[in-house]
């Protein structure tokens, strides 16, 4: 198992992404952050703090649980259901530019579910995707707008993002080696 990003690197990466967001959107007007549970939510909250430090504006931030939109929910004849957590989007997403945040982009299926879920909340002006790690192996035509680190991996490898909020420390681990 190797550490591919440490706390320092993660912090610098998120700061870089925050700057890219401001630059690309020419400010933060109409922006809102929505993190995908669980770690995407924490990354979204960190980005919101950084954006406030940079711009002085509060960016509305919500959390999205995509469990009920998963495409593998009913594919298993037997087996317990994944845990459903609360979705909290305490603002209207209509006509907002939504920054959708996840920790790892892999097959794209989570992102697909999140897009479907978001659309059920209203009609955003645009949705942009932010991921801390893109490990490749897409199964759907999905591409991130902001990528913390491109990490080519073997299919059987596993990428773990660990965050202070959930895991006690910040690091990205790769198990099973890079390509």
């Amino acid at each position: 198992m190797s550490v591919v990003m440490d706390a320092e690197r993660i912090s610098r990466t998120l700061t870089r992404i925050a700057h890219e967001i401001v630059e690309r959107n020419k400010g933060v007007e109409d922006l809102a952050l929505v993190g995908i549970r669980t770690r995407g939510v924490h990354i979204a909250r960190r980005l919101a703090r950084t954006l406030r430090e940079i711009t002085g504006h509060d960016i509305p931030t919500g959390s999205l649980d995509i469990t009920l939109y998963r495409d593998d929910l009913m594919r298993h004849a037997v087996g317990p259901q994944p845990l459903v957590r609360r979705t909290e989007i305490p603002f209207s997403i209509d006509d907002k530019k939504i920054l959708l945040v996840d920790d790892v982009l892999y097959t794209g299926r989570t992102t697909r579910a999140a897009l479907d879920a978001l659309i059920d909340f209203g009609r955003p002006k645009a949705i942009q995707l932010i991921v801390l790690v893109d490990r490749g192996h897409r199964e759907l035509p999905i591409k991130a707008d902001y990528v913390g680190k491109n990490l080519p991996t073997a299919l059987e490898a596993s990428v773990q993002v660990r965050l202070q909020e959930t895991d006690g420390q910040d690091e990205v681990l790769l198990q099973g080696g890079a390509e």
Binding site: H42, H76, P80, Q81, R85, A117, F121
Partner: protein, 326 residues
Amino acid sequence: MSAQVTQVDETPAVTALRRKDLLGIADLSPQEISLILDTAEAMKEVGSRPIKKVPALRGKTVINLFYEASTRTRTSFEIAEKRLSADTLNIAVASSSVTKGETLADTAANLEAMNPDMIVLRHSSSGACHFLSRVCKSAIINAGDGMHEHPTQALLDAFTIRERKGQLAGLKVAIIGDLLHSRVLRSNIYLLTKMGANVWVCGPPTLIPTEVARFGVHPTSDVDAAVRDADVVMLLRIQLERMEGAYFPSLREYFNVFGMTEARLKGAKPDVMIMHPGPMNRGVEIASEVADGPYSVILDQVANGVAVRMAVLYLLAGGAEHEEAA
């Protein structure tokens, strides 16, 4: 970057209902009850969205098989099913035709032939759901069986109490009314005692089930003792058609002795919640001023019913994790 804000997800001790059916609260562990209630919180949020529908049960067929008229429970299940994108089918069987017509086993066999995933059953016979679960592969959800259990009602009651009071443990809950014939009572007793509440049950001695104290509750016919310092007062329906003259002299006398009035409620905690599973008989078990008063959460109960039933449907849709499959 500040990292002092350590937010730990409240993960319940169990993350799955490892069972095929929901036949009653009696079979559930406290952890399973918590899982259902926690999942219901997420489901309640779905109901507040502009588009109140998620694709979770897409392609699943749910049959609502109702042998007793029940607008409230059936509607609640149907909305829950639709919000989860299940295909739903309502079958109402008039109980009069049951004696002449097809047996429950045959009806179930015919429905099974159409390969539904779940059957929500309301039936006037206690144990009808247990019976059906033995003859059916589909998941069976008990929507009320005779005088036995009404598990989703108890779950929605618990959800409503937890929403207001934060937890169930340590609360004094007084359940007052026709205890003998009430499936809501039995499910609530099981649930509330499992979750650590202090449960008092109150009614005329003619309507108290035999050996009810063995369920770990305090039976009494002293309504003031039941209400004293209660956090929750739950009233059960008096079935007008079969009560008068048999179990107590008159409805008027029942109201005078047991009816929940504002005066009687003064003995309860200042933030007492008034609950009723419905349909209410105003002026019999509950005075209108209480039913419509500030302590009443009766309509919250109805609203929460949908979320709780969504949770149950969702959790059971995964099916039991069979020993051999695990």
